[in-house]
Amino acid sequence: MILFVSLFSSPAVAGEFSGYAEAKGFVYPERARGQSPSVDGWGTLFNKWEEKLGEARLTASLRGEWLSTDDQGVRLLDPADRHFRRPPFSVQDFWLRLPLSPEIDLQMGRFQLGWGKTDGYSPADAFLPRDLTDPYADEKLPLWALRLSGQKGDVRYEAVGCPVTTPWRLPVLGSRNAPINGEIPRGVSLREMDSSPPVLGFGAIRLLATFGQWDVGGWVRAGIRPAPILEFRTDQAVETSGGIEIPVERRYAEEEGIGIELSRVVGAWVIRGEVAGLFSRNDHLGNAAIGSLSAEKAFGDGTLLMTLAGNAIDPPVDEILLFDRAILPALITAWTRTEEWGEWKTVWSVGLKHGDGLVKAELSYNITDVWKLTMGGEAPYGSGAGGFGALDAARRLRMAIRRSW
């Protein structure tokens, strides 16, 4: 690792070069089903290269990882992130941005999108693929997509075409990180079927405008919803020496969505709101009417953020299987603060339906400008019928050290 760091941290090629190496350790006070280890490790090496080609910009990055858990896939490289496990190497950025005019950009390749206005939970962001290998990291997966974006006066516009579906990545079913852990009876094991996700992804258009203290926006999208619906094929269950094994399929539904975003500075607060109607002809997914409202206020070098999100339509199937909607309705409160020595944050999320919740705390210490030590912990609690409480066995303490360049 040190050799890699020293090799890559020297600017041997043109353009800008940046990245980091990080080692993380997790300690779990509880062993899920008597099998999961009490200590896990995770190592990451990330390198990014950025080059300006006239007015165009080319960016490429590669992430190499080692995980001590079963969540690491066997495929060395999965460029489109379509496999259901996290590969040792993955392409995080590989995009070219061409200015078609001073105010219009065309971006093509693999990149991340961030659309939503409300932090914590945003219906506009909900369709973007997530990697739940670490269920608390809220990591978005990049997409292979084409994006046209521009601004005319106070109006911004964006059109995205994602020709290839990048599916959500779920933790190993039956592990402590999988929300359905508590639902599996003893003597039953799950065999995940690596069914191929659909090829076509989605298309979306978004408009944003700023009028004084108001920011307003709207979006529409149609295509494949990248969060899979799990289907337990009990009809195909087989008896093995270890008990009953049930195959689990992943299915992907089509969904259309329309959303409105509003935000406004109101005195000391920034108020943001989103509503979205999501429509699917798939019986296992159904429709949703999701709204979120957030209020943010600064206190010195700290920020308090509260987000309330809910779905006016009850999901037609087990909520736990609809991972992204399982926590709704929820209240998310986050307090972050920057200090001279680093920063800290605490987050308290409450599932209002089942009374389950999640308390997170993190403290980062800047040893130098490039070395950072982070300590934290996540403690889900409450009813196992709720999205947070279902992660009860995954409560943990963690420590990470990062060297950036």
Partner: protein, 268 residues
């Protein structure tokens, strides 16, 4: 010939007397507003751009360094500024866009955070928050617009060996929210350039922060302080900025000072 010469001499004398009278109205008993207007006129430039190396030194003497580049179009009351951090890696690509608003309103400000891939609006009340871990807050990042203040000349004082006018500036009621109750400006008398500003938070008898400008140079027809220092007297920390690669009146690309550009990953 003699009459003609006498007439020319008389006109020169009259002109000199009128000039002296006019000058006297400004400089014999200078008015703070007139001085600030004159200062603004003298130092106005269409655009400015520079890269900056910034060092934050805390009470214990621990040093944190950052690099940024900054672009400005317009000046004071009609300024648009885009700032983009270049290092260290933790803040690389963080962007800040500030657009001046007329007197009575706070500037519009947005911060782009690469981790979120979108901008965040800075509420007026956030103006006291630290700007990316420095001793500058968001209000300090705005250019001083004297029209948003009631100003009075308080006298003269020497700063760094230079005689200066001392001007007190009080935020006007209804001119937008200010972090400060009072700002004391020290304008160098000969070139009317700001050398120091004492910043008083509300209710404070002593300045809570002192902003000093030094290493003045005359570049491309404009005076510029190549070194800035913001000392936070409460925290005991200071942030020093050294400007580099400064240029003036360079045409800025259309759309540089837009939210579209602020959100361009890896962009200027």
């Amino acid at each position: 010939m003699s009459n003609k010469k006498t007439m020319v001499t008389s006109l020169v004398v009259i002109a000199a007397v009128i000039s002296a009278l006019l000058a006297g109205t400004v400089f014999a008993a200078p008015d703070a507003r007139a001085l600030l207007k004159e200062s603004e006129n003298r130092h106005r430039s269409k655009t400015q751009q520079y890269s900056g190396n910034l060092a934050v030194v805390n009470r214990e003497g621990k040093v944190r360094k950052k690099g940024w580049k900054s672009y400005r179009q317009g000046y004071a009351g009609d300024a648009k500024t885009l700032t983009r951090f270049t290092d260290p890696p933790e803040v690389k690509e963080v962007g800040f866009l500030s657009i001046s608003r007329p007197a009575g309103q706070n500037d519009d400000q947005w911060l782009y955070l690469p981790s979120m891939k979108r901008e965040r609006r800075i509420a007026a009340q956030d103006r006291d928050a630290s700007f990316v871990g420095t001793d500058f807050n968001y209000e300090d990042m705005e250019e001083f617009d004297h029209e948003k203040y009631r100003v009075t000349l308080q006298g003269e004082q020497t700063v760094d060996g230079q005689p200066c006018y001392v001007i007190a500036a009080f935020p006007l009621e209804g001119a937008g929210r200010s972090v400060y109750e009072k700002k004391i400006l020290y304008l160098r008398k000969d070139i009317l350039y700001l050398l120091r500003m004492d910043l008083y938070r509300k209710g404070d008898k002593q300045p809570s922060k002192i902003f000093t400008l030094s290493d003045l140079q005359h570049l491309e027809g404009h005076w510029v302080a190549k070194k800035w220092e913001m000392s936070d007297l409460r925290k005991g920390s200071r942030t020093t900025v050294v400007l580099d690669r400064i240029s003036y009146d360079k045409p800025q690309p259309v759309g540089r000072f837009t939210l579209q550009n602020l959100n361009r990953e890896g962009g200027d």
